[in-house]
């Protein structure tokens, strides 16, 4: 019984970590209709930048948590204005190819700057202890991840549903032309959302680094998981992403516990089953 409780804590922490990483991808897809495959690269860059900050300039994890997303936000801004904007009228395939190409370029740039060794970020001392529940020690950092995940979920929900900004975004989602006709600069909305997506990816990169580590090609591994979560949750639905993250976290953790040989298969199996039963994902709306 204790073991199951302990695994449940693991599952929730892992699931919310997935949510922190994936929510930016969902947001961008939901509003821009762009499947940003460079999302993983933003995630990776942020982790590396955070490493540089904590290693060379200051020991502060908190500063890294703030600065790394800002830097990545800047990269996202440049990418959106110079590369992505001209492709909006070209359709999804060209955007997929563009961002996938970018992912490869970033993948080659990172080892040039940071080398190919495995790196890691130290957790600040406040969060480095451990707590005992279910007769099992847990790192405090896992609980911090749970807290951060819930906070981001609430924040995103609040912004989307309770602010004018959220109203514009939701309106833009259903009818872009009408929104521009109302005098709202839809280009600006797109740029902002893409930057927010980048910042969220970057935030995920810093938060995940102490757990998942930093190493070459880390972003593709994460990208695959993020896409699984995205598909299961429903394309473009933040609430769906939250549910899907938790579901993937629970399925993966318990399958590793009960049937370690088939755990990888189960995740993709889950995705296949959901696609057959609910082609739009758990909470996805109909996509064209």
């Amino acid at each position: 019984m204790e073991l199951i409780g302990a695994q449940l804590v693991n599952a929730v922490a892992y699931g919310l970590l997935l949510f922190i990483i994936t929510c930016g991808l969902t947001l961008v897809f939901g509003i821009l209709g762009v499947l940003n495959l460079a999302h993983g690269s933003f995630y990776m860059f942020s982790a590396y930048i955070a490493y540089s900050i904590t290693e060379t300039y200051t020991q502060s994890f908190w500063l890294a948590l703030f600065v790394a997303p800002m830097v990545v936000g800047l990269i996202a801004l440049v990418v959106e204005i110079t590369l992505l904007r001209p492709t909006y009228h070209l359709g999804q395939l060209s955007q997929v190819l563009l961002t996938f190409g970018l992912a490869y370029i970033f993948n080659d740039i990172a080892p040039v700057i940071w080398g190919s060794d495995v790196l890691s970020i130290k957790v600040p001392s406040v969060l480095s202890g451990s707590v005992t529940i279910f007769e099992q020690k847990f790192p405090v950092y896992r609980f911090a991840v749970i807290g951060i995940g819930i906070a981001i979920a609430i924040l995103l929900w609040m912004v989307q549903n309770k602010t004018k900004w959220g109203a514009i975004i939701r309106a833009g989602l259903s009818d872009k032309e009408m929104v521009s006709a109302l005098g709202i600069n839809i280009k600006l909305v797109f740029t902002s959302v893409f930057i927010i997506g980048g910042v969220l990816a970057a935030f995920g990169g810093v938060v995940a680094a102490p757990i998942l580590g930093i190493y070459p090609s880390m972003e593709f591994q994460t990208l695959i998981l993020a896409l699984v979560v995205l598909v299961i949750g429903g394309l473009g639905s933040v609430a769906g992403t939250l549910v899907a993250s938790l579901l993937v976290g629970i399925v993966e953790t318990f399958s590793r516990f009960l049937a370690p040989e088939i755990s990888m298969f189960l995740i993709f199996g889950l995705m296949a089953v959901i696609l057959v039963l609910k082609p739009n994902g758990l909470l996805g709306k109909k996509v064209v």
């Binding site: 892992y14 451990s130 099992q136 020690k137 790192p139 757990i211 090609s217």
Partner: protein
């Protein structure tokens, strides 16, 4: 909707391909490397050594260290032996068997190499085995440790100077029973090498009288060990024998400590768990780990100290196990060429000369087993200790002349 699904499945295929060793988009950087047209035919002034190593992908840092080790030795003799110049031709395998096959055919057909060395991935070694064998190309394996290469897939032309999985796992078995306890749990990455090493450990440990209480094999490149660690935490055992390398090792060791398992279990493993280039990232969690290896930075022999000094002077960083492997492979090739007085035209004589090489390397005395073509070497048990705010390995036990059984 269907269009989007198609798109996403396309993306999945691309992303999965790219995460499996970057084979989807092949870099052709090295395929253009200069082929020396003037020096064709045998018995000329230069001896060509082909090195197939991964310089991109997940094993990139291992490939780089192996190459640095080789260059260090060739530098020390001025790239010249018995009046012949040594030319090193590097090819990037990307740790992908398909790519490696193309590279090795280029090395054989265009460059006419005399000796081949490398690779890191055992899958690559197996893939090129038949080409090497049928072309009678002397092949000195400098890393890939899959048991079968000097067992079922043995070839007259393939000799291995690094290690076999069996040597790594077996050397820890008996010692762990006597010094750690009589109950162990096994956690190893789920791929051929991880399985082979842990099987060798298991056999030796059980033969010594120990009991394996359970095992778990997380996939290679697993991102979070929490679930496995909780499972292990519920077991009754004296220690955990683990085989992980690279980013897996960093995550496993760190999380092992974070989940408090270091209080109840002794962590036992191989040298890659606490290798020189990982311990800084692992931090204090590495303290107390016992590992079996065939070379360690802390070996106090004169040969090792000289090697370390030269390496640090040349590259400004500590050598790793792979640097040593490269250095030794280069030494062995040079020794063999010396014995032939520089005439490498007959590949049967080259492998004969390689088989006779024996000297004291930085890792200790080494020689080849003429039956299996596998190196016979000392194995060391190291313990990782905290030194000031860092950790250092220390050799605490030596298993002399470990010889792979060859079957």
């Amino acid at each position: 909707m269907r269009k989007i699904l198609m798109l996403i499945s396309l993306v999945f295929v691309l992303a999965i391909l790219s995460s499996c060793g970057n084979s989807a988009i092949e870099s052709s950087l090295n395929s253009e490397s200069e082929s020396d047209e003037s020096g064709d035919g045998d018995g000329q002034e230069t001896i060509k050594v082909g090195a197939i190593l991964p310089f991109s992908g997940v094993y990139a840092s291992l490939g780089k260290d192996l190459l640095n080790g080789m260059k260090l030795y060739f530098d020390s003799i001025g790239w010249e032996v018995s009046g012949k110049k040594i030319e090193l031709i590097e090819e990037d395998t990307e740790a992908d068997p398909q790519v490696a096959l193309r590279r090795i055919r280029k090395l054989m057909d265009q460059d006419n190499i005399d000796i081949l060395t490398g690779p890191v991935s055992t899958a690559v070694a197996y893939a090129v085995r038949n080409d090497v064998d049928s072309n009678k190309l002397p092949f000195l394996v400098s890393h890939a440790g899959g048991n079968d290469l000097t067992r079922g897939k043995r070839s007259d032309y393939i000799w291995r100077s690094s290690f076999s999985s069996w040597q790594i796992g077996n050397s820890m078995g008996e010692w762990a029973y006597e010094n750690v306890g009589d109950k162990m749990y096994i956690a190893a990455a789920d791929y051929a090498f991880g399985r082979e090493v842990s099987t060798a450990f298991k056999e030796a440990y059980i033969a010594a009288g120990g009991e394996i209480v359970g095992n778990v094999y997380p996939p290679l490149g697993n991102n979070d060990y929490a679930s496995y660690l909780t499972t292990i935490g519920g077991e009754e055992a004296d220690g955990v024998y683990s085989f992980f390398a690279g980013s897996d090792a960093v995550r496993f060791v760190q999380q092992f400590e974070q989940y408090g398992l270091d209080k109840d279990f002794t962590l036992v493993g191989s040298g890659w768990l606490v290798s020189e280039n990982l311990r800084k990232s692992v931090g204090s969690a590495a303290e107390g780990i016992l590992a079996s290896t065939f070379w360690d930075y802390s070996l106090e022999t004169e040969e090792n100290q000289n090697f370390i000094k030269a390496y640090e002077k040349a590259y400004g960083t500590r050598p790793t196990i792979e640097s040593l492997e490269g250095y030794d492979a280069a030494s062995i090739m040079v020794e063999a060429i010396k014995e032939l007085d520089g005439d490498v035209s007959d590949s049967d004589k080259v492998v004969e000369a390689i088989s006779n090489v024996s000297f004291t390397s930085p890792r200790g005395p080494i020689k080849f087993d003429k039956e299996t073509h596998q190196i016979i070497q000392n194995m060391y048990i190291t313990k990782t200790l905290a030194v000031e705010d860092k950790t250092e390995n220390k050799v605490i036990y030596k298993v002399e002349e470990v010889k792979d059984p060859g079957k």
